[in-house]
Structures are given as C-alpha cells and as structure tokens.
C-alpha cells in the first residue's frame, strides 16, 4: 500500500488528518483521536436536529453531483412505518479519482461513524456500503472495522445503549463502473444487472427494495462526524470564495505531476496553488497542457483556464467544466490529446450498460471514429459527425454516462482541434494500426 505524502502547509487536513497513521485504523486508536464522540452526541438529539446541523454546514455531495446533503436527508419520509435504508457509495471508479479509497484505508471508523449518524438522521436501521470489487484492501480494512465497531457496541442492535439499531453491511461490487450511478447501485445490491433506473421515483420515495433510501458518497459521510462535533457554523466558515461551496475537499491529483496524491484543501483554493505549490508542478522541462478537473466525465480545461480556476463547485463551472468528484488529471505538453480522448471514449463504451440506444451506440461509434482518426483515416466531416453524435448523447438518456463520454470529446475538439487536424491531414504519424 502506498503511503500518503506528508501534509503540505497549504492543505487543510480535516478528513485526511490521520492518513498514514495505522493506529487510527483500530477502534481504540480512533476513539483515542476523538472518534465516535459525534455519534454519541447525536444519539441524544432528535434526527431533525441532526439534519438541521448538516443543513447549516452547507455540506454538499462529494461524489460528483454536489447536491446539498442536509436537504437530501430531509427528503426522506418521516416515521412512515416502512424500513428506510442508507447506502454508502464506495464504488469509486471515476478515472482520476482515488480519495474514497484512502478514506477507507486509513480512517475506516470515521466513515462508519458518519454512516451511523446519517442512518440515525434518516431513520434507517441498515446501511449497505457498496465497495467496488477491485478494492480488495479497503474491503478487508472496512470489514475488520465493522466487526470491531459492532463488538464494541458502537454499531449493532443497541448503538451505544441508545436503543437504536444501526447495522452496517458491506456489499462487494464485481466490476462495473455504472454501479457508481446511484440507482444502478440499488439494482446491483438487489442482485440485478447494474442498469440505472428512470427517475422519478427518486430513491427517497422508492429506493432500495422499493423503500425510502438515501445514497451518500464516502467522502460526504466521512465529513459528517466533523460537522456534528465542531458545528455546522464552523464547517460553513471553511470557504475561500463562494459561500455555496463550504468545507474542505479531497482533491485526487494524478497524471503528469511531480507529487501525485490526495490533497485536502479549503473550498475555493486556487487550482494554480494546488498544481504548482502543493504538488510541485510539472516534471522538469515540461509545461501544462490540459487538466480534467472532476474525474474524466467533465469537460477538459486548457492550461490557461486551469491556472485561473478556483477549486469549488462554482469556480470550476465558471471555467467551463465541473468539480465533479475532484479527480484531477493533469496533462503536460507531451500528451497526445486525441489518443487520450479516444482512450476515454473507449472507457465509456466499455462501461455503458447498453440500456439506452444513444449511449450504447454513441459511445461505440465515437470510439470507432476516433480510432479511424488515430489510424490516419480521418476526414474533415468526422468533426461534425463527432459533434452530432455527442449532441445526441447529451441530456437524452436515463443516466449521464453518455453525457460523460461526450464531454471530453466536445471540449477536446473545441480546445485541441489542431491535434485532430494533424492526424487527419497526415501531418502526424498514425498512432493506431488501420481499422
């Protein structure tokens, strides 16, 4: 297992404070660091009071959509007599993103505490944590933590003697990116193929096994104990730019960068500081060409856009992209953009659940057209064809997988058209064999 980097002075470690400290993984170690106090505290409050505190904090979903967490919890029906479920989305598989993995590897009890608090707030007795199949180490660590927390009475039939039943069950995925989409995840837990569901009904109305369900990302839930311990007002104050983006955010930085890793920064931190100060900038002699800031599913930013961007939900939108899951893929001047856009399109073609025609056909056809361009068989009309296909793939399907495939293609053509032209005009050697 890779060891995390020492925290940089410009970081604001809240969730990542104990990354790299193996003792924090154990129940006793976690308690020694103040763990489970948040859960004990809220078990004396009403669920409504917990939800209010989360609303005050301004915490928003860290999985990509940025939906306000307190509001999401408040949409759950109250005392309707049906079982309620909490699902923790630990299916992290958005290319460029590797933050939830670190949370589970280093602070499993922090996540469990967040799950227990959320379960209490929404009236759920059961929480399923859906961990992607490839995360073998995080699964083992979480499994051990669940066992320990249950044995010590933090979870189970009578959490900390409160009379509340909070049970956590780990559910292992089996290799399907689409199961990170929340309704596909529900189907997958139910023993079905991971096909996203049409909404409405929303999960809060009819989710897992048809019951009211809340789905939250690992990082969101891991932030919850900090919010309840230090207060919503404190969390809300962690904001350097737009007050709608509060708290800290784990940014996964990868690609052509000196010091890749997870960096926890206050919302609104300039991307330039992250890239050049915290991560040590580009490799010697190289310059920044592009950044995909929110995991691979968001539009590609040019170097100029990236260097002028603030890292919060609104800041990245202002530069034409999205914060998403904050998996930042950094690309320097050696990058063949056409090749990497093709590689991303291939990813989405592979991961499409094949339910919607626009996605099933669109991801496959865009991949093939990009392959032809890379093989030196491209034509001028391919630009329009790719854009037309992308248009058909955007906003027209059950989930956003096909939109995610279109985003790098459209932004890639807009910002790096000359690289496509070089292949089409024969100015560049084909990168792939003829197809």
């Amino acid at each position: 297992m890779g060891y995390p980097h020492p925290s940089h002075p410009k970081e604001n470690p809240v969730l990542s404070k104990h990354f790299g400290d193996p003792e924090a993984r154990t129940y006793d170690g976690w308690v020694k660091r103040g763990g489970y106090e948040g859960l004990k505290k809220i078990l004396r409050l009403t669920p409504e009071a917990v939800i209010e505190e989360i609303k005050t904090s301004g915490l928003r979903g860290r999985g990509g959509a940025g939906f306000p967490t307190g509001l999401k919890w408040s949409l759950m029906p109250k005392a309707d007599g049906r079982p309620h479920y909490l699902v923790c989305n630990a299916d992290e598989s958005e290319p460029g993103t590797f933050k939830d993995r670190e949370i589970m590897r280093w602070t499993p009890h922090g996540l469990l505490e967040g799950c227990a608090i959320a379960a209490y707030a929404i009236g759920a007795e059961r929480c399923y944590i859906y961990i992607r199949g490839e995360f073998t180490d995080p699964y083992k660590i979480m499994d051990q933590a669940v066992e320990e927390a249950t044995a010590r009475g933090a979870l189970g039939d009578n959490a900390f003697g409160s009379g509340k039943r909070i049970e956590v069950i780990l559910h292992r995925g089996a290799g399907a990116y689409i199961c990170g989409e929340e309704t596909a995840m529900l189907n997958s837990i139910e023993g079905k193929r991971g096909n996203p569901r049409i909404k409405p009904p929303y999960p809060a109305q009819a989710g897992l096994f048809g019951m009211p369900t809340t789905i939250n990302n690992v990082e969101t839930l891991a932030a919850v104990p900090h919010v309840v311990m230090r207060g919503g007002e404190w969390y809300k104050g962690l904001s350097l730019s737009n007050p709608k983006s509060t708290g800290t955010k784990l940014i996964s930085v990868c690609g052509h960068i000196q010091r890749p890793g997870n960096y926890e920064v206050t919302m609104g931190t300039p991307m330039k500081e992250l890239i050049y100060d915290m991560c040590g900038g580009m490799r010697p002699g190289r310059t920044l060409k592009a950044v995909i800031p929110g995991g691979s599913s968001v539009p590609i930013m040019s170097a100029a856009e990236a260097e002028d961007c603030l890292l919060d939900y609104e800041g990245v939108v202002a530069k034409g992209s999205m914060l998403g899951s904050a998996g930042m893929i950094v690309m320097d001047d050696t990058t063949d953009m056409v090749y990497q856009i093709w590689r991303l399109a291939r990813f989405y073609a592979h991961e499409s659940c094949a339910q919607c025609t626009q996605c099933r056909e669109g991801t496959a056809w865009t991949t093939r057209i990009l392959e032809r361009i890379l093989a030196g068989k491209g034509k001028q009309e391919h630009f329009q064809l790719l854009l037309d296909l992308s248009d058909n793939m955007t906003g027209k399907t059950i989930c956003v997988l096909s939109d995610s495939c279109a985003a790098p293609i459209v932004s890639g053509i807009q910002k790096f058209r000359q690289e496509f032209e070089a292949y089409i005009q024969g100015a560049r050697e084909p990168a792939l064999a003829a197809v």
């Binding site: 297992m1 958005e94 992607r132 069950i169 399907a176 096994f209 094949a354 099933r360 496959a364």
Partner: protein
C-alpha cells in the same frame, strides 16, 4: 430444477455481455467455458452456512446473488454453467437470469483462467504515465502473449481493465487479490516471481 439446468440459459444478457466485453472477454477465450468432471456442489458445509448468513443480511434471496457468485468464484476460480444452475436453484432464480447478471459484471470469470489472474489498468490517467508499456511487459514476461489468453504453463492470465481507482499511484495492477501500485516495466519480472 437440477444443478445442471444452467446449460440452457445462454440467451439472456448475451447482447449486453458481448457489448461490455469489448476489450477483455473477446475472442481469446473462444468457447472454452466448459467443465468436464462431474459437478460438485459449491453450497454445502461452510459455504452453505455462509450463504444462510447472507440471507439474514438482505430482505430478499435475490439480493444475495452477487455475494453468492463471489463465493462460487472463490471456491472454483470461475463460474461454470452448472454453477450458474446451482446458484439459481439456491436463490430461487432462473439460470437465464443468473447468467444475465454474471455476464454483466466483468470480474466474474465465465471461463477458466490461469492460476494467477492479473488485471492491469490502462485508462487515461495511467495511460499517460506509461500503463501500456506495463501491459506489454506483463504479456511478454508471463508468456500470455495476448490479452485474455492464459500462458501455456497455466500460470497466468492477463487482462486490461478500466480504472482501478489508484490513479495517483500509476500503474496499479491486481494480481489475484493483491493490489500492487507503482508498477513499471522494470518491476514486472520481480513481481511475477512471487506468483508460482
């Protein structure tokens, strides 16, 4: 329903399965998904107890499908047609339905694989950090030659996978359940020696 009833369930999921299997479960596997010895049940003794424990964790038997398939793969290394039939039987599902689910998820093997199964990430973040060179080194040094093929000595199968979720530690590979980060072509032979 007998344990071998799964033989008839090859239709469902074929379209999505073929689509999803673009890179890793392609032609290299051919039609080798057969088991010749008499079928021995997976769910007996400890594994049956494990399955019954699972029944207490979900409100429906169907929801135990993914964990039950993991138990089969853990026991047998892959999921054969008779095994699909057995899973269908213990969960009150049809073999066709179970097969549709098995083929949707790429981590379930519908064919026998080498003693050690290697998955290498080549998605963009790792790709720009040299993942394709790692993949080529793995294919060369295992003797597998092609993606999805098993080495002549039966020791390894190598496949290319999409994002393993460790992009900052490029290039990650999974050897069986061992997650190994920061692999370079130079490190490949040393890693392989640990897996006989």
């Amino acid at each position: 329903m007998s344990a071998t009833a799964g033989q008839g369930g090859s239709g469902a999921g074929a379209a999505a399965g073929a689509h999803r299997g673009m890179s890793e479960h392609g032609s290299a596997h051919g039609g080798k998904g057969t088991e010749t010895a008499p079928y021995e049940r997976v769910f007996k003794g400890e594994r049956l107890a494990r399955l019954e424990w699972l029944f207490t964790k979900y409100p429906t038997k169907q929801a135990c499908l993914l964990p039950a398939l993991w138990l089969v793969q853990e026991a047998r290394g892959w999921i054969s047609e008779p095994a699909i039939g057995e899973v269908a039987e213990v969960l009150d599902l049809t073999p066709a339905y179970v097969k549709g689910v098995v083929t949707f998820y790429t981590m379930y093997h519908t064919h026998p694989v080498g003693r050690h199964f290697i998955q290498v990430c080549t998605t963009s973040p790792c790709n720009i950090c040299g993942a394709e060179d790692v993949m080529k080194a793995l294919l060369r040094e295992t003797g597998c030659g092609d993606l999805g093929a098993t080495s002549p000595d039966g020791r390894f199968t190598v496949i290319e996978v999409e994002c393993l979720g460790a992009c900052g530690f490029a290039t990650p590979i999974l050897v069986d359940d061992d997650f190994i980060e920061g692999v370079t072509p130079e490190k490949v032979s040393g890693i392989l020696q640990r897996y006989q």
